[in-house]
């Protein structure tokens, strides 16, 4: 299977430069086939909620590819309630780049982006999306909406995309602290964003539908909180791909019925799970290179190591006020644990390590992510002071050719062996 996907990736890559339309058709066919496989022949090694995620994430990626005019390109941390209320499909950087990774063609897009002039030191997820767009493989969406939250790359990427595609761009400026003034500031921008979207699409946002989206999101949040309680004492197998799929439901699909069903199934699976036993429990920081053999093997079902989750899936855990949706979305953005000083993100990591009874923390130093890289050394000190050993693991969750697999595997294995050693 891997050889087939590898070959597929080569064929797509070979078409990028001169036949972008063909590359897109191939990708659509490939994702269609993998979607069908997820539906008809799901991976039985996965738990039901993970199988459900594999199918629905595939759909979430395919929909904007099939109907670009009914989609918006967004960044991961954009609260997407307005898009969901309007029935528009969000396409986000990490999701699409991850899927292109899955198709083994990410490096072709990265090379295209670098040749175009994108700095080599830039985040590989963003380079992949930029390469896909600038090469004309990816068709233009209806519009782009981004936040300034957490990630410097957003500003560069989305500005470049908007200029390239000639589509409207809305920038939602999210300050680093949550105060009365900043809530008003961001809420006002959400109102403007709502008007912007209505203006661009000619559609109206139904306020009842928006409240319904938030209500669904709150129900999901409660299910997710119950799941975390279960997780604190149980062994719930979790592989790297499933953890990355979870990001769809905790972010761009939040407030959908699909997300509510996902969290509901997740809780059911958790309630059926065995007790934690002697598994070594790992909290992961940032994205996971799910395609990397060494990572896949470590967290494969039946392994003695348990992946508790990525902090990207714990960045906002509160419930929202459905009666004041704009202020609620503003608070969601402002309270996101990825924003602000590093104490906020590290504090959330420590809180989760405590709640989930982690044995250790892997701080994944993603290539190009200055926010994560800059905090790494200080965060290690803080998390270790709280009693959790930390491994700083340099890597690239997106670019296969930007890693040293052997070196990464050695470091990660040594750390896990250290955690698993008899105390």
């Amino acid at each position: 299977m891997n050889a087939i996907i590898d070959k597929f990736g080569h064929v797509v890559t070979a078409s990028i430069q001169n036949h972008p339309g063909r590359a897109l058709q191939l990708l659509k066919l490939g994702y269609g086939a993998s979607g069908l496989q997820a539906k008809v022949l799901p991976n039985r090694q996965l738990l039901p909620h993970q199988q459900y995620a594999a199918l629905n994430c595939n759909r979430a990626i395919q929909k904007p590819l099939q109907e670009p005019g009914n989609s918006a390109v967004v960044n991961l941390f954009l609260p997407c309630e307005l898009l969901q209320a309007m029935g528009l499909a969000p396409q986000f950087v990490e999701g699409l780049a991850g899927y292109l990774d899955g198709a083994c063609c990410e490096h072709g897009f990265i090379e295209y982006a670098e040749d175009w002039g994108i700095p080599r030191t830039y985040c590989s997820y963003h380079k992949t999306l930029l390469g896909a767009a600038l090469s004309s493989v990816l068709e233009k969406p209806r519009f782009i909406v981004q936040t300034t939250l957490a990630c410097d790359a957003n500003m560069n990427t989305f500005r470049t995309l908007a200029e390239h595609w000639q589509v409207p761009l809305f920038v939602l400026d999210v300050p680093d602290v949550c105060t009365g003034e900043t809530v008003d500031y961001v809420a006002e921008q959400f109102r403007r964003m709502s008007a912007f979207m209505e203006d661009v699409t000619g559609m109206q946002i139904d306020s009842d539908r928006l409240r319904e989206v938030i209500r669904l999101e709150n129900r999901s949040a409660r299910l997710y909180a119950q799941y975390r309680n279960q997780l604190s004492t149980r062994y719930i197998p979790n592989d790297a791909t499933s953890e990355m799929n979870k990001i769809f439901f905790t972010h761009v699909l939040a407030g959908t019925t699909a997300a509510e069903k996902y969290f509901s199934m997740m809780l059911e699976d958790a309630e059926k799970a065995a007790s934690a036993g002697d598994k070594v429990r790992i909290l992961w920081i940032h994205t996971l290179p799910f395609w990397q053999d060494s990572i896949r093997e470590i967290f494969a079902p039946g392994s003695k190591y348990q992946l508790l989750g990525s902090d990207l899936n714990f960045d906002f855990l509160d419930e929202m006020d459905e009666e004041r949706p704009f202020e609620a979305m503003a608070r969601k953005a402002l309270r996101n644990s990825m924003g602000g000083d590093m104490q906020r993100r590290t504090g959330r990591a420590i809180e989760m390590a405590k709640v989930l009874k982690a044995d250790g923390v892997v701080w994944f130093c993603q290539w190009g992510c200055k926010q994560t890289l800059g905090a790494a050394y200080l965060a290690k000190e803080m998390i270790e002071s709280a009693g959790y050993p930390v491994l700083l693991l340099d890597g690239d969750g997106c670019d296969r050719q930007n890693i040293n697999e052997g070196q990464m595997a050695t470091r990660l294995h040594a750390f896990l062996e250290m955690l698993g050693a008899p105390k």
């Binding site: 040749d115 175009w116 002039g117 994108i118 700095p119 030191t121 830039y122 300034t148 990630c151 410097d152 790359a153 500003m155 560069n156 500005r159 470049t160 200029e163 920038v171 400026d173 300050p175 680093d176 602290v177 003034e181 900043t182 500031y185 006002e188 921008q189 000083d341 590093m342 104490q343 130093c365 290539w367 190009g368 992510c369 200055k370 926010q371 890289l373 800059g374 905090a375 790494a376 050394y377 200080l378 700083l392 050719q401 930007n402 040293n404 052997g406």
Partner: protein, 583 residues
């Protein structure tokens, strides 16, 4: 005294407390200290800030959260107990953002008052604003060269100014500060609202949401060239550069700097070569008509074309040269590995050449190469009318000579050898260059490798060492390859370990060497960017003697690559030709 680093910092507000602000922009020798505090893949300026300030007793620091790297550097310094005033800088510049920033300034006012025990004096604040308003940011009269992009150390700015024939205008992210005259009021809230508006209304840096007004920086008719700086691991300005190089006709050179003096020689070469390549710059600087100058040069070339030679080794007879009223010039190329000298006569005949190892004493090796060439040409030093030196050691040869970069010299030499050459690929011991020429042989554009051995002669030396073969053996054995091997590591050090792994896997030597040849070819071709390398393409520099690399280049380019008989002499040849022109 309070240090600040960003032009959105409210330094006039601090002046309102009777305290002075100091613009912090210092280079560092290394990052040994900061590497213990922060990951090395964050912006180099942030690392330099930590390198200088961490662990010592210094005054407070005024930062804005202008980027993730500075934000984190501030986190690290705060954790060390340093007083860091971190301001939330909006990305927008509309009325809501200005109101928000005014609140932030008010908060700073309260925090700083509590910290310093001083009271705010609106009069002092207004005076500081008026003082700032009197200094028009970076204004220059008449034609100028802009230094644009990301911040740059003052030292480097002075060096560029030293090389430039025209005045320099600093429009980097820190060089565009502008504040207007404040309203006549003593109401602090009203003043801060006005002040927040002034700060956010400056020509934006690339971190801001709306950067459309930056266009005016490149539309000024007095702008004659741009030196565009990017700071290592700061990605904001790479994007602007990528757009500008497509859109504007003004010559533009990209630098990547890291706030250390490393690669100072390489940077200097780039800047010098850039200024050399702008044909009419001297004319503008001296008020002369550059068009006339260009015609004169073109005429010279057409006369010279009748006696072009295919290879430098095709030298004229010494007896012939003696029999006429000729004079002689020399070109000396002091490279990192070898030093080459070429002597020419005034009819553009190559009289002699010599190559010696550079070693540790640049002056001595240059003298040795020069004297060996003189002996071969049967000439005395006094008979050489003019000398041009080039290469990394060009300023330290000890000769009273003109100094020209190897980029211009290789272009000159290659075009002399074949007038159809439009691309020169020069791979030397420690760097590689792709030089594009116009139909007159004038440098249109060039790219140089960054401070990384990949794609250089040094890379091949390291790999030969790992494989236990000589460079000469390496040159040949890759030609008999069977299995295609990809060396994926970009870094020479990792490539070395990749080669060791391939040896351990039992891969054949020929196949590994072929993989390395392709790797070096890919790296060098990538330097040329997206546009295909225009034919004819000539390889110069010592690595062009490696036929395996040449074949790999041809394989990658899909066309024949010209290689002169002694490609390592091309720079010295160009220097000798320039010496003739100067004479």
């Amino acid at each position: 005294m309070i240090d600040y680093v960003c032009r959105y910092a409210p330094i006039e507000l601090i002046a309102g407390f009777g305290e002075q602000c100091r613009y912090y922009n210092l280079p560092v020798e290394h990052f040994a200290g900061s590497d213990r505090l922060i990951h090395r893949n964050v912006c180099s300026f942030s690392r330099s800030l930590l390198e200088k300030r961490s662990g010592i007793n210094v005054g407070p620091l005024l930062l804005t959260d202008c980027c993730n790297s500075i934000r984190r550097a501030g986190d690290v310094l705060s954790a060390q107990g340093q007083r860091v005033f971190m301001l939330n800088l909006p990305h927008n510049d509309d009325s809501c953002a200005k109101k928000l920033y005014a609140n932030e300034l008010m908060k700073l006012m309260l925090d700083y008052g509590a910290y310093s025990g001083r009271t705010f004096d609106a009069g002092a604040f207004s005076a500081a604003c008026k003082n700032a308003a009197g200094k028009a940011a970076g204004s220059v009269e008449g034609p100028y060269i802009a230094v644009m992009g990301a911040r740059m150390s003052d030292e480097l700015l002075w060096k560029i100014q030293g090389e430039s024939l025209l005045p320099l205008r600093n429009v980097t992210c820190t060089g565009l500060r502008s504040i207007g005259v404040p309203p006549e009021t003593t109401d602090a809230a009203a003043l801060l609202e006005w002040y927040a508006g002034e700060l956010l209304s400056q020509i934006p840096c690339m971190r801001m949401a709306d950067v459309s007004s930056r266009r005016r920086l490149v539309l000024d008719p007095n702008l004659k060239a741009i030196v565009y700086n990017t700071v290592s691991f700061c990605d904001f300005y790479g994007f602007e550069f990528a757009g500008l190089r497509r859109e504007i006709s003004v010559p533009i050179l990209k630098l990547e700097t890291d706030y250390t003096p490393q690669s100072a020689a390489e940077l200097r070469t780039r800047v010098e070569a850039f200024f050399e390549s702008i044909d009419n710059l001297r004319g503008i600087a001296t008020g002369q008509n550059s068009a006339g100058k260009r015609e004169k040069r073109a005429a010279g070339r057409s006369v010279a074309s009748g006696c072009r030679q295919d290879v430098p080794s095709a030298t004229a007879s010494i007896a012939e040269s003696r029999s006429t009223d000729r004079y002689f010039t020399a070109g000396i190329d002091s490279g990192s590995t070898s030093t080459n000298a070429v002597i020419m006569d005034s009819h553009r005949n190559i009289m002699a050449s010599a190559t010696v190892l550079t070693g540790t004493r640049v002056g001595e090796s240059a003298q040795r190469a020069f004297h060996e060439a003189l002996v071969k040409a049967d000439l005395s030093p006094a008979e050489i009318r003019h000398i041009v030196t080039t290469g990394y050691g060009r300023r330290n040869t000890g000769f009273a000579a003109d100094v020209v970069t190897e980029i211009t010299c290789h272009a000159k030499g290659a075009f002399f050898l074949n007038g159809k050459v439009r691309t020169v690929v020069d791979i030397g011991g420690q760097d590689s260059k792709v030089i594009r020429l116009d139909r007159h042989g004038v440098v249109k554009d060039f790219a140089m490798n960054d401070k990384c051995a990949a794609g250089t002669g040094r890379f091949l030396e390291m790999m030969a060492q790992s494989l236990g073969i000589s460079i000469e053996e390496m040159s040949l054995c890759g030609k008999t390859w069977n299995e295609g091997i990809t060396i994926s590591s970009m870094c020479s050090v990792f490539a070395q370990s990749e080669v060791v792994s391939l040896i351990a896997e039992g891969k054949k030597l020929e196949d590994i060497v072929h993989g390395l040849d392709l790797s070096i070819a890919s790296k060098v071709i990538a330097l040329g960017g997206r546009a295909p390398l225009e034919r004819e393409c000539m390889m110069t520099g010592g690595v062009a003697n490696n036929s395996g690399v040449v074949e790999a280049m041809e394989q990658k380019l899909g066309c024949q690559v010209l290689v002169p008989d002694q490609p390592e002499l091309c720079g010295a040849l160009g220097a000798a030709l320039l010496a003739l022109e100067a004479h």
